[in-house]
């Protein structure tokens, strides 16, 4: 039917929310090599295949209601981590992409303000938090080993992109209000 390699594997991964990083598998490398063709094929089926500026691939949901509950939990956990590192004056992107974090030492549940925010998205305790990181793992955002040591993968950069977009929107609103 078509000559695109690893199509079934790529589609199966994408439909489960997996983020493909080119250097990590043959399928991902094939996706990177022929991205425009894959994008055209998926577009014909009504899917938006995205290549992030940091060189990884995922399906952007047209309907944001997909996995909304889970997306909210992941987003809250991610934003809290960024906020915590910023308050500590650490280099946010380098820390997240290069360091390892122990689940039990994250501030998400130990700091009251963060715990209150997580309750808003139904993350109440360490078990819920663990499930969120497992979900991140399923989507290819992070890896967590048996010692509950978390290493974030490049697709986590979507959080940075989102933060920049939110800051830019706020600046634009302020500029419009001041004008």
């Amino acid at each position: 039917m078509n000559q695109l390699p690893h199509l079934a594997e790529i589609f199966d991964g994408l439909r489960r929310g997996w983020h493909f990083v080119p250097e990590e598998s043959e399928a991902a490398a094939a996706l990177a090599a022929e991205f425009p063709k894959y994008q055209e094929l998926f577009a014909a089926l009504g899917f938006n295949l995205v290549c992030h500026e940091r060189d990884f691939f995922y399906l952007d949901p047209a309907d944001r209601d997909q996995a909304e509950g889970l997306a909210g939990k992941i987003a809250a956990v991610a934003f809290i981590l960024v906020d915590h590192l910023a308050n500590e004056g650490r280099a946010i992107e380098q820390s997240i992409l290069n360091d390892r974090f122990l689940l039990g030492q994250l501030p998400h549940l130990t700091r009251d303000s963060y715990a209150a925010l997580l309750r808003q998205v139904e993350v109440h305790d360490a078990s819920d938090l663990r499930q969120v990181f497992r979900a991140m793992q399923r989507f290819g955002w992070a890896e967590m080993n048996e010692a509950e040591e978390v290493r974030f993968r490049r697709p986590f950069c979507r959080v940075f992109t989102q933060c920049l977009a939110l800051a830019e929107q706020a600046a634009a609103r302020k500029e419009a209000a001041d004008a």
């Binding site: 994408l14 439909r15 489960r16 929310g17 899917f47 995922y58 399906l59 952007d60 949901p61 944001r64 209601d65 997909q66 996995a67 909304e68 509950g69 889970l70 997306a71 909210g72 992941i74 987003a75 809250a76 934003f79 809290i80 960024v82 906020d83 590192l85 910023a86 308050n87 500590e88 004056g89 650490r90 280099a91 946010i92 992107e93 209150a116 925010l117 808003q120 998205v121 139904e122 989507f139 979507r158 959080v159 940075f160 992109t161 989102q162 933060c163 920049l164 977009a165 939110l166 800051a167 830019e168 706020a170």
Partner: protein, 407 residues
């Protein structure tokens, strides 16, 4: 008011750590001065409140502004400390602009003196050119040193600053010192114009017999050195600060975005928050979707299988009615018979005598059917209980009368 030099210098010599602490901040209230005096008090020192009083009396600290109730370290003392501890003070672009403007003025004076053949004024003007160029050189060097110290401290300090604080500090240096300096010293900027004009006048001085040739040559050389030096300093400062500025700007925006998202979650709750603030995930689930193999089998059967008769329900070979059907028919008959013979004085007695072959279960099923049926009204007798025999047992119960309900 004149400050007595010996008491002033003695005080400063005895309180160096305190003075350095005061130099670290721009403004102090009197209670804060007292705290600082307490913290830096040595054994045998005077009482802290007396130390504060003496600082004010000796003008070690002065009021921040007339009428204010805050103090600052006296500016000459601050500069002395910087000199002693070799801590460079950055020069503001306005000061450099002032030097550049002053160079323009003294060049005009020199040119006028050369024209008027006024040797004294020309010599003084040349000296002033030299002083101004040296001040530009010194202050530019101090600014460079200060910026490099700040960058080094910034990179190595263990003191915790938030990303936003760090960015603001770098922005301060960029916007307050580096960028305005760039405007002054850039090609076709103020400095180039002023230096060009000064160079022209110095050449006139060199050609004139009014001034010593060596002096004019020296000033021209110094002019070239200072011009190149200022440009080099600016470029170096920019090289040091620009990467920090770019990376911190991005980090600051990321931190701001995360803080905005979390603030929105706190204020508005989770409803709608994900759609507005969070990255989405595509999860496509298959629901009852046949596989390719199932499709293939269906088509194969359609193409190759002969038409077949529809399936039929198989009756039992004996031809006997199913047990459930027979039971249902009996219960219906009980209903019909009871309605025909009502009122019944004792329903259980009527059932067991009419159907002695029925088991206890069947009798009770019949009784229940009658007792709860909407066509009948059942009522208990106020008599003692009786024994009723069934095909496989006995029942002891109080008699229940049964009447049909009026339609």
């Amino acid at each position: 008011m004149r400050v007595p030099p010996k008491p002033f210098l003695d005080f400063c010599a005895r309180h160096v750590p305190l003075l350095r602490a005061l130099a670290a901040e721009t403004e102090w209230t009197e209670p804060a001065l007292l705290d600082a005096a307490i913290r830096h008090r040595d054994e045998g020192d005077e009482q802290p409140d007396r130390t504060v009083r003496r600082m004010i009396d000796l003008r070690v600290v002065v009021y921040s502004e007339p009428g204010a109730d805050t103090f600052e370290l006296a500016e000459p003392l601050r500069r002395l400390l910087d000199y002693i501890f070799d801590e460079a003070m950055p020069t503001t672009p306005e000061v450099i602009q002032g030097y550049v403007a002053s160079l323009g003025t003294v060049s005009q004076r020199l040119e006028r003196a050369l024209k008027d053949e006024d040797a004294v004024t020309a010599a003084l003007a040349l000296q002033e050119v030299n002083d101004t160029l040296r001040r530009i050189h010194r202050d530019t060097e101090e600014t460079r040193a200060r910026i490099l110290i700040e960058v080094a401290l910034f990179k190595t300090t263990r003191r915790q600053f938030t990303v936003r604080d760090k960015f603001q500090r770098i922005v301060h240096w960029m916007q307050r010192y580096v960028e305005p300096m760039g405007d002054i010293i850039r090609v076709d900027g103020e400095m180039e114009a002023a230096f060009g004009e000064t160079a022209r006048v110095l050449r006139l001085a060199h050609e004139s017999a009014l001034t010593p040739e060596a002096v004019a040559v020296r000033e021209m050389r110094l002019l070239r050195v200072v011009e190149k030096f200022a440009l080099r300093v600016f470029q170096q400062c920019r090289r040091e600060l620009q990467p920090l500025y770019e990376s911190l700007r991005r980090a600051s925006l990321i931190a701001e975005g995360a803080a905005l998202a979390l603030a929105r979650l706190q204020k508005d709750g989770a409803d709608g928050w994900v759609r507005a603030s969070a990255p989405g995930f595509a999860l496509l689930r298959f629901h009852h979707a046949p596989t390719n193999a199932a499709f293939a089998l269906a088509f194969e059967r359609l193409a190759e299988g002969p038409p077949a008769a529809p399936p039929t329900v198989q009756r039992p070979a004996s031809g006997m009615e199913p047990e459930g059907k027979r039971r249902r028919a009996w219960l219906d008959s009980v209903l019909t018979a009871a309605e025909a013979e009502a009122p019944l004085d004792d329903t259980l007695d009527w059932l067991t005598s009419r159907h002695p072959d029925r088991s206890t279960t069947e009798v009770l099923a019949g009784f229940t059917r009658l007792f709860f049926h909407s066509r009948f009204r059942a009522s208990f007798h106020e008599t003692s209980s009786r024994l009723y025999r069934t095909a496989d047992g006995e029942l002891r119960a109080h008699p229940v009368a049964l009447q049909t309900k009026a339609k």
